[in-house]
Symmetry: C2
């Protein structure tokens, strides 16, 4: 069998496999990024025109594209509907961008850490991923300048409640980042699945709205605020990129499913959606707060973290780092799941000691128990590591 | 802007653009491959579990995979549910296969003619497409042997009511093709969107069911029999290919939309579906027969064709060939659309004189008028060509 050279870069996700195998009801999972089941809205399918069953346009439903362009303009993104492409979840934006830009060896700029499932298509197409360290208010700017000077094909950023770090770029950093992308003429891909999941107020306009000359793709989804099962996302692109992305979309899957598009259109911009989003924020804020209290109790001495102001995750840094991938099996043995931090880095072995903990899924009443077990697993591993390290070498 | 090398192979489809621009209600279209609007079934969304809104498995819904495996086994395809991957329309199978197999220069074996939208992803990834001429009962076998001997990464065949030629492989050719793929150890991708749209009885088991050693991917869809707007297709693959295709699916769009999967599951294998399919066949058979009569009247002297026993298309060969792409604009000026034959060939300029005419869309009452106009356009062009050719060269 002769596979493409690409396939040699197709990594299996060991962690994904371990977690998938551990989907037992008794496992308390802090691992996923799923919206809370309780907050999936009841949707109505009555009134959907029969024509939504027919083939549709590769660009997406015209009314939905209009609605998305309208929302984006309200955020300050200068665009019209002709720049909107409906995609099969915003994951597809990453596939299309990889096809558009990446040959083996093409440099791609990413945050460190970055979204795990973005690394997958980028590395599949052979990207040379170059990373910029994330600080509490956004990327380290001198590192960003140095990496942009290496002329990556694009930079991929998640500036608002990033998965996994929960970082929201400050206004100052947004301006500085935009200026740097303009200065170096590098295309920006800005991914914003979590923008609407904001708990502590404040809003910062997207970075693409601050660009003057650089090309850009802005991508979002209804997966975090409406229903991920619809697989309806969107991208908005500058006119130099749009026609190419459209043809790549046609070749990939003709068009995005229309029933999901129709459902998304019923919500976008509606009073019902505003109410739902407010309820969602209240619900997640309570869970975030409960998680923060439980973390202070069980992880106060073990780790450091920022309180996330939005999104779905806490990002913990252990005071005594170790390879958190080694914690997964002992944690699952205690019926607790979490996401090790290493896979969120281009160079996993250089970044030990991080854990991503989702706070939307586990009910507050069970939080304490789950985190206590996880803390115990970590302490045990640290003690084992400590005792190994302090043992005198017997052989060699 | 530095795009990938791939983008240099991203062709714009001039014909697609011309046809898209001509979507006026007064245009009688024989161009598309759309199911008749009247035959889109009324679907019921009541009873869909709320959980279908949540993220799902990359493999697809377990029950749907079971149902598809069951149907495939009834066709003679040896498989179980673990080999079924639900895809975002069977177009996505072609994208995943291209990623799995094709580097620039990789040989890929196709029928001549073949499905237009398969050429798109294959050529995008840089395939060297090698073709086997189609005869009335399947591929020309000596040509197939010669091309298989060149060791293509896979062969892509549409053996049942092919788009565009409507050819259905005979039993003998199916056996011979399977034996040749086994002999040369070449992976077979068998695409069967039209299997259920059979008008004149008879059924031949898929070629993959006749393979003994070669790897294979069998792909199908609910787009031609239920609703294309759901974007629900499937592939079934041998176990050596399945895990790789699954990871490519994850990287492409995480999973196929669940609302469409749930809807498809309501139909597959049900009495309601059997009734619908029977109605669909009756409806299309009548349209096929009406088209045949109208063609005999208006194209009897102009073209040759086989009466299609299934599928959605007539494939005409003009007795006096010309580049049928040049007919599109004059036809549209007469409010008639059709699909020129050239783009269905790897080497379009070597295959003038074919037209693909869809018979599912135009109502029988308007058929005669539409075909009469199209015939007139062709005659005019042929006369112009004839007079040009017979004119003595004045200069040069």
């Amino acid at each position: 069998m002769a596979f493409s050279e690409r396939v040699t870069r197709l990594k299996s996700s060991l962690i994904r496999e371990i977690l998938a195998a551990a989907q037992r009801p008794e496992v308390m999972s802090f691992a996923g990024g799923l919206p809370a089941e309780a907050m999936l809205p009841q949707v109505e399918w009555q009134g959907m025109p029969k024509s939504m069953g027919q083939y549709g346009m590769s660009e997406g439903e015209p009314e939905l594209r209009e609605a998305i362009a309208r929302e984006a303009r309200q955020l300050g993104v200068p665009c019209d509907a002709s720049q909107v492409l409906i995609v099969s979840g915003s994951q597809q934006t990453l596939d299309l961008a990889a096809k558009l830009f990446i040959d083996p060896g093409t440099k791609v700029l990413l945050e460190a850490p970055t979204y795990l499932a973005a690394l997958q298509p980028f590395q599949l197409f052979g990207a040379d991923c170059i990373a910029v360290p994330q600080e509490a208010d956004g990327p380290q700017l001198e590192a960003l300048r140095a990496q942009l000077a290496r002329k990556p094909a694009f930079g991929y950023l998640i500036p608002t409640f990033q998965n996994p770090s929960a970082v929201r770029y400050s206004e100052a950093k947004r301006d500085a980042v935009a200026a740097l992308f303009d200065e170096y003429g590098v295309t920006l891909i800005e991914d914003e699945p979590y923008r609407e999941l904001v708990f502590d107020g404040g809003s910062a306009t997207p970075i693409v709205s601050r660009l003057r000359t650089a090309s850009w793709i802005y991508t979002g989804t209804v997966s975090k605020t409406l229903l991920p099962g619809l697989r309806v996302g969107f991208l908005i692109a500058t006119p130099d990129l749009y026609p190419l992305l459209l043809r790549l979309k046609q070749a990939a899957d003709l068009h995005t499913n229309r029933v999901g598009q129709w459902q998304a259109l019923q919500w976008l911009g509606s009073e019902q959606y505003r109410t739902h989003l407010a309820e969602l924020r209240d619900f997640y804020r309570l869970r975030r707060d409960a998680m923060q209290l439980a973390l202070l109790e069980h992880f106060g001495e073990l780790a450091d973290w920022q309180v996330p102001q939005g999104g779905l995750f806490f990002w913990l840094k252990l005071k005594q780092p170790l390879d958190t991938r080694t914690l997964l099996k002992p944690a699952l043995a205690q019926d607790v799941a979490f996401m090790p931090g290493e896979p969120f880095f281009v160079d996993p072995d250089q970044h030990h000691g991080y854990l991503r903990l989702n706070f939307s899924h586990v009910a507050p009443a069970r939080l304490g128990e789950g985190l206590q077990r996880l803390a115990r697993v970590i302490r045990t591993a640290q003690q084992a590591q400590g005792s190994t390290q302090s043992e005198p070498a017997i052989a060699g």
